[in-house]
Subunit: 423 residues, 2 copies
């Protein structure tokens, strides 16, 4: 289907056929959901051994009684788990609670209201704080900015990561840009891994940017590979050491999509200067993270190899679901001008760019045929997709059969919305 | 020993005797610690069944899969546990992570930066925010204020709670006083429970105070009784309903000193208006609290009776330790002008008021004899005890024998410091 090359009578014919197909599907009374970027029950069950794993031994390797108060940055076991996941030194890791989002929120708060560089260096003492937001991106990153009144400046995502020309220009021209949100591996939602060149340019960014600039490197899918030889992600911490920009990057990860999504452990990795500022802040916020849960997680995942083996079990469950979606898209739109998408080698999402102006209508049509899609605009700051084209597909929760049916509906809705718009 | 009635030669004699006793104790090379307000290993072990209790059943009563994402305010099980502990309706409860301090920090942040009453009503839009701090009090409450730049105004504690005349005068005279920290039961550190009159006057306080005033009711020791018929704490939520001040109180509790201190569940109870503001804020901060841990805790403590039985086991361990301290104090100072203290019926601390100007010296002397005491001033805002007299004693961690020895040292140090100062 090449809409741009079709004449009006062809389009009219397609419209009739698609309307008929759509009406037929509507009558099936479906109730399917492609919105939920979370693990399925089958995936969660991979980690059910967590409960009861300690067998009465609550003492950590350094002698800490994990059941009691104490320690703001986590057990050696927790730090090493974070180090294994992020590929960083354990010394650089701070362990949080069950949500890396909380670590991100608090890290932004430190930069904005207190300053990583100490008194007088808070961003909010330097004017109107802005963050760069590669789009499409992760809605909860945008919500953090919104909550703090941080102005969001968008830059486009490409197949190699954020458009680095746009990123570099922006930080050079505006010293009030104090941060950028990055999901460097299997980026939420488009699923690309930043290229080596992109990571290297990120590592040098602080040399172009205003004072106190920080990269929020949310490596949420650090070990979430679906293929055996995935494209590797360059080591930004090592590159930052090379370029003397160690303080400019704060990395985040969690076990949320490794073990139990709601009951895991989160990690932050940063330079000693950043760690000091964050720990000082956190000591006013908490008596310390849940150490029993850290010990439990380390016993389940005692080293990097164990993490990788565990993730292969996830891949065995998830990969067929990604394949269904990607195959449906390829068959329907591979030879068309109706949409574009990446082919993620990991992560949790597939992102579909429809023809501009069609996303809302596709989502509406799908909903009326019983297939729930993430609301249009969700992947943009202020929930505003200026071109109204991006749709995020989350394939992990539905069954293969449900996915096949949902994608059948999706394909019809994309075609129908596109043809209607082109009439 | 009545110093004020002794003449100089008596004092000189005491000084010689006490110096000799002190020197003897110093030579014992002791290494004891009365600073740690945390449970002993024996207490922690009461809850070791938590790990493994779920036996593969992670589904909550409402069908929620606790292993997955979702839910900002907690499971029905978590809310009911909080309700049982605080004596409130489960509907009024929000469940947090392992630290009630985090809930308090975030609740203060909502009031200060966002406003419980919505846009335009944040405290920081109304001038220089101040909080009333009954002293002596809990250092971490003061740290929250310090972190937010909230000015702390002290009011004295009495045997019936904060001096309510002082509290009422202060809020009437200064509408910028937007909050007060309260530990209403076995108040940290002096160990008194607020009288019915105090609680009733607290419940009416919002009618005298400026807009947006909130009481931070940290009921940390709600079920931590050491005696079988403790003095009851009046129900502030019920009184607030009576006086139409429901929005003026936010209650907090946790299982930290019930189960595992570092790995428990925290609770907040408030009016629906406050809950709405707090939930809206938290949805930017977290994907939700650890629900597996909530379920685990409810299985261990399925109802109020189970909580009470569990706390009796704690009391059986702790009570003899409190008795040692109180008996030593009574024997040494019951008939003297060297100090005053309350006799707590629960909680974690005994607070000793030495003669003004003696606390630092007592603590220094004790340290040099191998007994670590909480630093002077720790129970006051900005770590400044203006009269230099309050010393917090934490008797739960040491053994009975250790406590007896430590109190022997303490008594000598109090006497020695007092006599020296009176010379």
């Amino acid at each position: 289907l090449y809409l741009d090359q079709a004449d009006q009578s062809q389009r009219q014919q397609w419209l009739s056929e698609l309307t008929a197909d759509y009406t037929t599907l509507q009558q099936e009374g479906l109730n399917l959901d492609l919105t939920r970027g979370k693990p399925s029950s089958e995936q969660l069950a991979l980690s059910d051994a967590l409960d009861g794993l300690l067998q009465g031994n609550f003492i950590a390797s350094d002698g800490t009684d994990t059941r009691n108060y104490g320690g703001i940055d986590g057990l050696p076991e927790g730090k090493q788990l974070g180090a294994d996941i992020l590929g960083v030194d354990a010394d650089s890791v701070l362990v949080g609670g069950n949500a890396s989002l909380t670590l991100m929120f608090h890290a932004v708060m430190v930069g904005l209201q207190y300053g990583f560089d100490g008194d007088g260096n808070a961003w909010n003492q330097q004017g109107n704080t802005k963050f760069l937001c590669p789009v499409p991106g992760y809605d909860r990153h945008f919500t953090v900015c919104e909550k703090f009144g941080i102005e969001m400046v968008t830059v486009p995502m490409t197949a190699t990561g954020p458009d680095m020309d746009a990123v570099e220009n922006a930080v050079q021209q505006d010293p009030n840009i104090k941060g950028i949100w990055c999901v460097p591996k299997y980026s939420n939602p488009i699923g690309v891994t930043y290229s080596d060149d992109t990571v290297a340019r990120m590592a040098k960014l602080a040399n172009l940017a205003g004072a106190g600039f920080r990269i929020f490197w949310d490596n949420a899918y650090a070990v979430h590979d679906l293929v055996s030889q995935p494209k590797p992600l360059a080591d930004i911490a090592a590159l930052c050491r090379l370029y003397n920009t160690e303080d400019s990057v704060i990395q985040f990860a969690s076990t949320s999509k490794i073990t139990h999504a709601g009951a895991g452990v989160s990690f932050l990795s940063a330079s000693s200067k950043n760690l000091q500022a964050i720990k000082s802040f956190l000591s006013a916020v908490t008596i310390g993270p849940d150490k029993v849960n850290q010990l439990r997680h380390r016993r389940l995942l005692p080293d990097r190899a164990a993490v990788e083996q565990h993730m292969q079990k996830h891949a065995a469950i998830i990969k067929p679901r990604f394949d269904v979606v990607l195959q449906c898209l390829e068959e329907a739109f591979g030879d068309s001008d109706l949409g574009r998408w990446e082919r993620p080698e990991g992560g949790y999402f597939i992102s579909f760019d429809a023809r501009p102006g069609c996303a809302k209508e596709i989502i509406r049509l799908a909903a009326e045929a019983g297939v729930k899609l993430t609301p249009a605009g969700a992947t943009f700051p202020y929930r505003n997709d200026p071109e109204d084209k991006n749709i995020r597909i989350a394939p992990t929760v539905p069954s293969i059969e449900q996915l096949e049916k949902a994608m059948e509906v999706f394909v019809i809705c994309v075609k129908l919305a596109s043809v209607k718009q082109a009439m």
